[in-house]
Structure formats: C-alpha cells, structure tokens
C-alpha cells in the first residue's frame, strides 16, 4: 500500500523538478505558462498520492483540495493567456 | 480645571494653535495674521510669567500623557526649563515683530509664520520636556519645523543650505535616538532629576555608559554646533534674517546646548559624569570649538557668516561651563545660555536691518554707516562689546563666572581659552565698530543701493525692525548691569545651581 503511495509522491516530486527546470530555461510566455501549469498538476498529483497514504478508505480532504486547486489553476491560466494575447496585440501596433 | 496639569500643555499648544490658525488665514490677510501671531506670543509670555511665579513659590507643574505602556510624554516646568522658557518666549515675541516688519510685501508669508510658530511649539516642548523621550520627540520636530524656514526663499542656494542642514541634523537625530533607546533599555523611562539617574549603574555598565554619553553628545552636538558638526550653521545664513535670528539665538542651537545641559546635570549627574571621565574630553572639544569658531569668524567677509561662526564659538562657552565641574562653571553656563541669546539676537536684528534697509551684507561695506543709522549701530556696538566680554554688558558676567569656574576646577587652560577668544572677538568685532562709527562714510562718495520704502519709517529704518533690536540691546545691557539682582539671568542661574548642588 505504502509502495503505491510513494510511487505517486515520487512522480509528483519529479514533475515539480521538471516544471522548475522548464521555468528557469524558457523565456517564451506560452512555454512558461505551460511549465507553470505542469507545476500545478504536480502539486495536485502529490495531493492525490497523500489521499492514499494510510490503509482503509482514501481520505476525502485532499480530493476537495484538488478540485478547488484545479478551479484556481484554470482561472489564473486564463488570466495569464488573456494578458499574453493583449501584450501580443500591443506589440503588433 | 487643575492648572498644574493644563498649564504645561497650554504653553506649546498656544503656538500650535497659532500655527494652525495661520494655515487657515489666506495669504493677503496681513493684519489678521499679525494679530494672531502677536496674540499667541503675548499669551505665551503671560503664561510663562504665571508659571515663573508658580515655580518661584515652589509650585509643581506637570502633565503626563501615556505614549505606550512603558513610555509616557511628560511636560514639566522645573527651574532650568523656566530659564529657557523665559528666554525663548520673550525673544520669540520680539522676533515675530521683527519678522512682520522684515517680510513686508514678500510672498508666502502664511507658510513662513505657520512653520515659525511650529518651530516655537517644538522649542516650548524641548524646554518643558520632563523625560528624555519627550525631549527627543520635540528635538526631532524642531528639525522638521526649521527646514521650510531655511528654504523659504526657494533659491538654489537656500535649498543647498537646507540639504546640508538636513544631512547634519537628521544624522544627529538618529544618533540621539540610538542613545536614548540605549539608556531606555538600561534604566527604563528616564525622568529628569537633579543629580542624574544613571549613577547606580556605574560599576556594571561603565563602558556602555561612556559609549552612550558620546552618542548623545554627538547627537546633541550637531545642534549645539560643536566643532566637527558645526558645518550647517554658516551655510544656513542664507535664510531670511528673522530665521537666522531664530536659529541662532532662540530655538535651534539653544535646543542642542540645552540638551547637553540636561544630559550632564539631569540624566548623568555632573558628579557621576566626572567619575566616568567623560567631561574632560568634552571640555577640551568645547575649548577647541571656541577658538576655532573665532578664528574662522575672523576671515569671513559676509557679516552674517561672521556672526554665524561667532555663534559657533559662543555656544561652546555654555558647553565648556557645563563640562567644567563646579558651581561657578554651571552658573556661568546657565547665565550664558540667556546672555548669548540676548546679545546674538541683537546682532542678527541689526544685520537684518542693514541688509533690509540698505542691502549691506559685506563687512567692508559698513564704513560710515554709524552716522546714517546711529540707533541700529548703537545696538550693534552694545551687543558686540557684550560679546567681547567688556563689563558692564551681559557677556562679561558669564565670562567672569566661566573663568572663575575654570580656575576653581583647577584647569587654567579654560582661562587661557576665554582670554584667547575674547582677543579674537575684539579682532573681528572692533574693526566693524571702528568702520561704522569712524570710517569715511561711503554714502557721500558712492551711491548706496536705493533705500527700501518702509512701512513705518522711523528715523533710519522701519519701526518694527528697529524696536526689537533696541529692546534686546537694552536687555543685554541691563542683564549685565543688574546681574546681582534675583530676577536677572545670573540670579536665576545662581538659584538653579544652589538647588542642583544642594544635596
């Protein structure tokens, strides 16, 4: 049981590493938004792993957290994309 | 309405209210503004008189407002604060009249008088401060209130002077804050009490106390224009004459010196300070400043700069008197606190009149002016002779006691410094007096700049300009002549010293 838990947690950690690396390297706006989204989902993966950490039924709180987290992540990505588009238009003018 | 509580609050409040009222008055309502100014000033003198009588009959005035759990704002009238209160309120009344006459027709008068009264509030606060934190609060307020006065003219030179002034005084303020906080951590809220409060700490915190003393002297020394920290005073001469009169004789420099006197007598206690071994270096520094200031004054061609350097040296008389252990040294210091104010403000009034009526600023443009302006130059001569220390003027009285203090304390170099500075004073004041009275009058040979049209033309210049100068000259003469009586500054100084050295 704990083995599965640790695999997902480990995967989440790896994903966080990739996201940080991408953020450090790329300067293009879209690439950064993508990298930053993977970081978000990595966090949610970690939460998912935590839900299964002890035996018995998976504990519901991380699930609630992940749902709200996703909502927040989507809205901030939307805002970032809107800003990026407006900047692009301004640059063209 | 218990007067003991409210009077010390009303004193600074009166000039604060004047300042706020002036803010409301529009720029062109000259008469109303002058009325408010003078009302505030007279009210203050009346209150000081009442308080003076109260203190004389052993009445305790104290107002205590809690600032935070451990800190409280204390306004208390004791004997030393009474001395400074009387000096600053009377001189402020005269300076207001002078300023009204001087600024006739110049722009931004509302702003000027507003900050002028704010400056007075701060000075009142400083003189009434009952503990170190209140003193610090009003000490910093004074810096801020004086800055707009220095830059009042808005020229590039005025702003440069303002910058230098701020640089010096803000650093001084920060250092004083450090010192005060340090004392606060060692001994908690320090109430001013004759004989000082830090004595019990002696064995354990000797070096810390020495460090604190140096910090406080540096912080206060900026405003007291001790040697390395005096740079701002001559450059601040670019301010209009009533401001330089205010700066030099009434408010700013006096705050610094008053602070040092409080520090030595009421925080450290003079006996303890001597045992700490901090007073000797202070007296050497003061001695050096006296001679340095006089020598620099010798080479200044601008009249007001020469008076500025002479203030630098005269202030250190007070510090020297305070630093020399002994009753007569203290009497000399306290008396000179008042005498220097009277004499120096007369000199600045005369410089202002000369500058304002004839546009004379340089020392060498004075020849023969005595015939054309006998009263002004008469007042200037009396004050100048006072500065030199010839009897029966006030300057002689304090120099006599300072010399006596120095000799009794066994350091004869104090006497040598006093003599040297008197000779130097002669060197830079007598030529001015000689040119003014006996010089070939330039008025006939070269056409002097056209004389300004004056509001109330007395014989030589407008009355509001001339009257204060004559009054302060007369006061500095009588302060010296009737020094023996109880009501003269010397009498008050003797009374204070008796109480201080009584236990």
């Amino acid at each position: 049981m704990t083995a599965q838990y640790s695999v997902y947690a480990l995967a989440g950690g790896l994903l966080v590493g990739f996201a940080f690396h991408a953020l450090a390297i790329h300067t293009h706006v879209l690439k950064r938004i993508l990298a930053w989204n993977t970081l978000g989902s990595a966090a949610f993966l970690v939460f998912g792993a935590i839900a299964r950490r002890n035996t018995g039924a998976p504990d519901p709180v991380p699930h609630a957290i992940v749902i709200t987290g996703i909502v927040v992540a989507i809205s901030s990505t939307a805002l970032a994309l809107a800003l990026a588009r407006r900047i692009d238009e301004e640059n063209k003018k | 309405m218990n007067w003991n509580f409210w009077l010390p609050i009303f004193l600074p409040l009166s000039s604060l209210v004047t300042a706020l009222l002036i803010l409301v008055i529009r720029e062109n309502q000259h008469r109303l503004r002058t009325f408010v100014n003078l009302l505030g000033a007279t009210l203050k003198i009346v209150m000081v008189a009442v308080v003076g009588y109260g203190v004389y009959t052993q009445h305790a005035y104290e107002a205590r407002m809690p600032l935070s759990l451990t800190l409280d704002l204390v306004l208390r009238v004791d004997d030393i604060s009474l001395l400074f209160l009387a000096l600053s309120s009377t001189l402020w009344f005269l300076t207001t009249i002078f300023a009204v006459g001087y600024l006739e027709g110049s722009p931004h008068q509302s702003r000027f008088f507003c900050f002028f009264s704010l400056c007075m509030t701060a000075t009142m606060g400083i003189s009434l401060a009952g503990n170190l934190i209140t003193f610090l609060i009003f000490y910093e307020m004074l810096t801020l209130a004086t800055y707009p006065l220095i830059v009042h003219r808005g020229t590039e030179k005025a702003l440069r002077a303002g910058r230098i002034y701020l640089a010096y005084t803000l650093v001084g303020g920060a250092v004083t804050l450090a010192g005060t906080a340090w004392i606060h951590t060692l001994v908690g809220p320090t109430q001013f009490a004759h004989g000082g409060v830090l004595a019990p700490l002696a064995p354990t915190h000797r070096h810390q106390l020495q460090a604190i003393f140096t910090l406080m002297i540096v912080g206060l020394g900026v405003k007291a224009a001790l040697f390395p920290l005096h740079g701002w005073l001559p450059t601040a001469m670019v301010a209009p004459a009533p401001v330089s009169a205010l700066l030099h004789a009434v408010a700013v420099v006096k705050a610094g010196v008053f602070g040092i006197v409080r520090l030595i007598y009421d925080v450290f206690g003079v006996k303890f300070a001597v045992s700490l071994g901090v007073l000797a270096p202070l007296s050497w520094l003061a001695g050096f400043t006296i001679v340095y200031g006089s020598i620099r004054a010798l080479f200044q061609h601008d009249l007001k700069r020469r008076l500025a350097y002479s203030t630098v040296s005269q202030l250190s008389y007070i510090v020297l008197g305070a630093a020399v252990f002994g009753a007569s040294g203290t009497i000399g210091a306290l008396a000179h606190l008042v005498h220097q104010g009277l004499m120096k403000i007369t000199l600045f009034f005369c410089a202002g009149i000369l500058g304002e009526t004839w546009g004379i600023h340089g020392v060498d443009e004075l020849s023969g002016i005595g015939r054309r302006m006998p009263l002004t130059m008469g007042a200037f001569t009396i004050a100048a002779f006072g500065m030199i220390g010839t009897p029966p003027m006030a300057g002689f009285v304090s120099k006599w006691y300072l010399g006596l203090g120095g000799v009794r304390a066994g350091d004869y170099w104090v006497l040598a410094v006093l003599i040297a500075s008197s000779v130097l004073n002669c060197a830079y004041f007598l030529p001015i007096i000689h040119d003014a009275w006996f010089g070939k009058s330039r008025q006939d040979s070269v056409a002097l700049p056209q004389r300004r049209s004056l509001v109330v033309p007395a014989a030589e210049t407008s009355l509001p300009l001339l009257l204060p100068a004559l009054v302060t000259a007369f006061m500095s003469l009588t302060a010296g002549l009737f020094a023996g009586s109880h009501f003269s500054p010397l009498g008050a100084a003797r009374l204070i010293t008796e109480r201080m050295y009584a236990p």
Partner: protein, 582 residues
C-alpha cells in the same frame, strides 16, 4: 542715602554724555560740560568718608571714599575741570568739538568712577569704560598717523584688559569675594601668588606705562588733542598706579623680590623715558616720554609699598603726593603746548613759556617747588637701610636726567610756531585757554604748601613742607645741574628733522617686523587648491557606483533570476531549518 553721592558724582558725566546726543540739548550742553566734574570735586573736598554697597549692581558693587580714593578723585576732578574748560575754545568748529565732547565725558565718567570703586568688578568696569572711550579721543583728528596711534593704543589696551581680567579672576577665586578689602590678603596667601602679581602688574602696567608695555603712550598722547592728552597723562595713566595700590598685597608679602623688581624697573623707566624724550623733535612726544619717566617714580613708590616690613602707609602717601604733583605739572605743560600752538600775541607767548618753565622746574624737583617736596617725601620713606643708602644719589641722578629733558622741552616749546588755524569763536583765543592753564600753574606754584594740607585732610599723614630742610638737598641739585646743563647745551639745543628713536620706539620696531610675516589668511589660502580635485575624485566614484547598482537592478527583472532566487531561498531556508539548534 548720602552714599549715593559717590555714584552720582561718577555717573553725572555719563548722563550728560547721553543727553548731549539729543539735538535739542546741544546748545545747552556747550555751557554745562566744562562743569561736569564739579560734583566729583566737591565730594572729594567736603564729603565725609562714605561707604555704599549696591547688591543688585553687577556682582554687588561697593563704593568707598577712603583716603587714597579721595586724593585720586580730587586730582582727576581738578584736571578734568581744567581740560573741560580748555577744550571749550580749543577746537576749530563746533561739530568736531561735540563729537570729542561725547567721548570726553564718557572717559571722564570712567576715570571718576574707578577712583571710588571698592570692588574689583566695578573697578574693572569703569576701567574698561575709560580705556575704550579714550580710543576715539586718540583718533580724533582722523589723520593716518593718529589712526596708527589709535590702533596701537587699542591693541595694547586690550592686552592689558585681558591680563587684568585673568589676574583678577585668579585673585577672586582665591579670595572668594571681589571686594578690595579681601583681595590683597588672599593674593598674599595664594599658592600661585607670583603669577597673580605678575598678571596684575602687567595688566595695570600697560595703563601705567611700565617700560615694555609703554609703547602706546608716546604714540597716543601726541595724536590726541591737547585737552585729551593733558587728561591722558594727568590722571588716566595714574589709574594703573591706583589699581596697583588697591589690589597688590602691600606689606603682606614675605619675600622682597617683587619690590626689588619694581624698584629696578622704576629707575630704568625713569632713565629710559628721559633718554628717548631727549632725542624727540616735537614737544608733545618729549612730554609723553617725560610722563613715562615720571611714572618711573610712581613705580618706585609702589615697589617700596610692597616691602615686607610694613612701610606701606608712608610709601602710599608719598606715591599719592607724587601722583598729584606730576598730574598737575604734566597737565599744565600739555595745556601749555596746546595754548602755545594757538597763542597769537608775543606777551601771551612769554607768559605761557614762563609758566611752562616753572612746571618743568617743578618736574625736575628744583627747590621750593612741589616736585622737590614730593621727591623729598619719596626719599624719606623709612624702607630699610638699602633704600636709605641709595635714595639720595638715585634721586639726584634721575633729577638731573629729568632736568635735561625739561630743558629740551622748553627749548622745543620756544621754537614752536603757532599753526595758522582760524577759529570761529568770538572772543580772542588766548583769553579762553589761559584761565584753565593759569589755574593749573597756580596750583603747581602753591603746591608745596597746599599739598600737605590736602593730603592730611584726605587722611594720609604726611610731614609738612618746611623750606629749611629742602635748602640743603635743593642746593646740591642746583649746584650739579646748572653746570651740566651748560656743558651739554649743544645736545639739548640741537634740532634734527627726524628723532633718532622714533616715537613708540619698541612698538614701531616690533610692529614693522610683524607686518612682513605673511598674514594668516595667505597661510590658509594654501589649503584651498586641494579641495577641488578631492571632490572631483569622490564624484567620479559615486557615479560609477550608481551605474553598477542600476545595472544590477535591471538584471533582476529577467525571468530566470526570479526562479533561481526562489529555489535558492527555499533550499537555504531548508538547510538552515534543518540545522536546528538543539
């Protein structure tokens, strides 16, 4: 209340001086000023010995009309009265006379005040008032020469004031109070009494013309107008002597070193003054040097007063007597010079010359003159065997020297041409000047009889003058001087354009050396050129720093910096947290 007369008599001239400033009172003042010193004279003559103390004035002012004070007050009042009258007719126009009068009255008030002051601070205040208001008298005629004289007078006066101030301060710190009654004893007991005595001697010595400090006298007296120089020589330099007699511990000192020093300097002053005076070409300078030499006698007397074996009262009496004698004679001579320069008729010149001759002889101490009596008093001071042995030969030599100097002065006076100054006054000139001069000469003539009476009434017990005892001494003097005068006549008759020793001898010599020294301002100017490059150096440095800082700030806004900074902070925090203490 009667004590207040003392103060009033001293302050009346001051009050008159101030009222004189008002335009309205100008004309009335012309008549009143000459009589200003009258109340002081009356107080000196008839007032009982008064004591008054005013606690609120200065540091508790004390006034006391004791014997010495009465003598000096009387002398000053007489001389100021004469000079006041003399100055009425002396000046060329009203305007300059009025300017002179204001300072004349101020100095008078100072002089009268200090004679009756009984505590150091009041004495010092009147002394300072007299000194500083005498300066305008010296530079009255506004020529460059009088300006130079005024400058040297002021410099030495300030030096004197400062020495005096330190001496008095040291003395008061010992005595605890400023009264003259307490000071001398405290000085005698003081551990640093030698410094105090030296300071006081020098401080008063400047005024009294002690040799190295006398240099202002031969410059200032000739420059001042006649009435002013008469008073300067007559009573003002005596203030120095009065100071000595009041403050110095007369008779209380153990060692007689100080009295020895004073004796030697007195003699030296006498001879030095005579020699310098002898070579002068203008009568006023010669008279000034004669004052210096005569002050030698007073220093002598003060020295004797300092003798340890209590001969002070006699010495003081002799000193007072000599002061009165010299004051009157010297004032008469100076007024004589002033009158001669205005004398238009031959008869008036002859009268003036004879009067001056008499005063000169009295100075030299010829028999039957006040000078002889005063010198006899000096000789008769019972100051121990050394003095008795040396007194008569010394006095003889000094008298001969003075005689030569007097001869020189009379010769110069004879040759003096009256300067053609037209005067705006109505009545003939000489008539106005003569009464004042004449009264002084008359006082001089009646001196031998009047002087002992005056002194005894003042309270100083002095043996009276009897012609018999003086015949012997006087005869020896006459026998010696007349042949010597005849032999050395070529010397004192010689006329030279320029005096061998210029007036103000020491000062002019030292002064010229000082001018050549680069003035301090040039010395300071050396430093200013360094300021410019130093500020330039700091300016370049700060600009460089600012550019670097701004560049670093821009660098931060790049993306990667933000991420790396975040990661870095995280890891360092983690490590630090991990290293928990405990």
């Amino acid at each position: 209340m009667n004590g207040a007369i003392l103060l009033v008599s001293a302050l009346i001239p001051l009050v008159l001086a101030i009222t004189g400033l008002l335009n309205g009172a100008r004309v009335a003042m012309d008549r009143i000023t000459p009589w200003a010193p009258l109340p002081a004279l009356l107080t000196a003559l008839i007032a009982p010995s008064l004591q008054v103390s005013m606690p609120s004035l200065l540091f508790g002012a004390e006034f006391d009309l004791d014997a010495l004070g009465r003598v000096f007050l009387g002398l000053s009042a007489v001389l100021w009265l004469a000079a006041g009258h003399f100055s009425c007719g002396y000046f060329e126009n009203r305007k300059s006379e009025r300017r002179h009068r204001f300072f004349f009255l101020l100095t008078m008030s100072g002089n009268l005040g200090l004679t009756v002051a009984a505590d150091a601070v009041t004495f010092y205040s009147f002394f300072a008032l007299m000194t500083f208001s005498a300066y305008p008298l010296v530079i009255h005629d506004g020529t460059e020469n009088s300006r130079r004289a005024g400058r040297s007078y002021l410099r030495l006066a300030i030096l004197g004031e400062m020495l005096l101030l330190s001496g008095l301060l040291l003395a008061t710190s010992q005595a605890g109070s400023t009264e003259f009654s307490a000071l001398p004893k405290a000085i005698a007991l003081a551990p640093n009494r030698n410094t105090i005595i030296a300071l006081l001697l020098a401080g008063f010595g400047v005024k009294a013309g002690l040799v190295p400090l006398h240099a202002w006298l031969p410059l200032a007296h000739p420059a001042a107008p006649a009435p002013a120089s008469a008073v300067l020589s007559g009573t003002m330099i005596k203030a120095g002597v009065l100071g000595w007699l009041r403050v110095l511990p007369l008779g209380d000192l153990e060692s007689s070193t100080w009295s020895g020093i004073l004796l030697a300097s007195g003699i030296f002053m006498n001879l030095y003054g005579a020699i310098c005076g002898f070579v002068q070409v203008r009568p006023k300078e010669a008279l000034a040097y004669s004052s210096v030499s005569q002050m030698g006698y007073l220093t002598l007397a003060a020295g004797l007063a300092l003798e340890p074996d209590g001969v002070a009262p006699a010495a003081i009496a002799a000193c007072a007597a000599y002061t009165v004698h010299h004051g009157i004679a010297k004032a008469a001579l100076f007024l004589g010079v002033g009158a001669l320069s205005h004398a238009d008729g031959p008869r008036v010149r002859v009268l003036l010359l004879t009067g001056s001759l008499y005063c000169g002889l009295s100075l030299a101490g010829f028999p039957l003159t006040t000078g002889a009596y005063a010198k006899w008093l000096l000789k008769s001071i019972p100051a121990g065997k050394t003095w008795n042995a040396w007194a008569s030969p010394l006095l003889l030599v000094t008298s001969i020297a003075t005689a030569f100097l007097v001869a020189r002065i009379i010769m110069l006076l004879v040759r003096l041409q009256p300067d053609q100054v037209k005067h705006a006054y109505g009545f003939p000139l000489a008539m106005r000047l003569l009464p004042a001069w004449g009264s002084l000469v008359l006082l001089g003539v009646l001196g031998p009889w009047l002087l002992p009476i005056a002194l005894r009434s003042a309270g100083l017990h002095v043996t009276s003058f009897s012609a018999l005892e003086h015949i012997g001494g006087g005869a020896a003097l006459v026998l010696w001087t007349t042949p010597l005068l005849y032999i050395g006549r070529r010397l004192w008759l010689r006329t030279a354009a320029q005096p061998a020793i210029p007036p103000g001898d020491l000062l002019t010599f030292v002064g010229s050396k000082l001018e050549r020294l680069t003035p301090i301002s040039k010395f300071l100017a050396v430093f200013t050129p360094w300021k410019k490059p130093f500020s330039r150096f700091t300016q370049i440095r700060t600009e460089g720093l600012i550019k670097a800082v701004v560049r670093m700030e821009e660098a931060q806004t790049r993306w990667d910096f933000g991420m790396i900074a975040l990661a870095l902070t995280w890891t360092t925090l983690w490590v630090f947290l991990h290293w928990r203490t405990g």
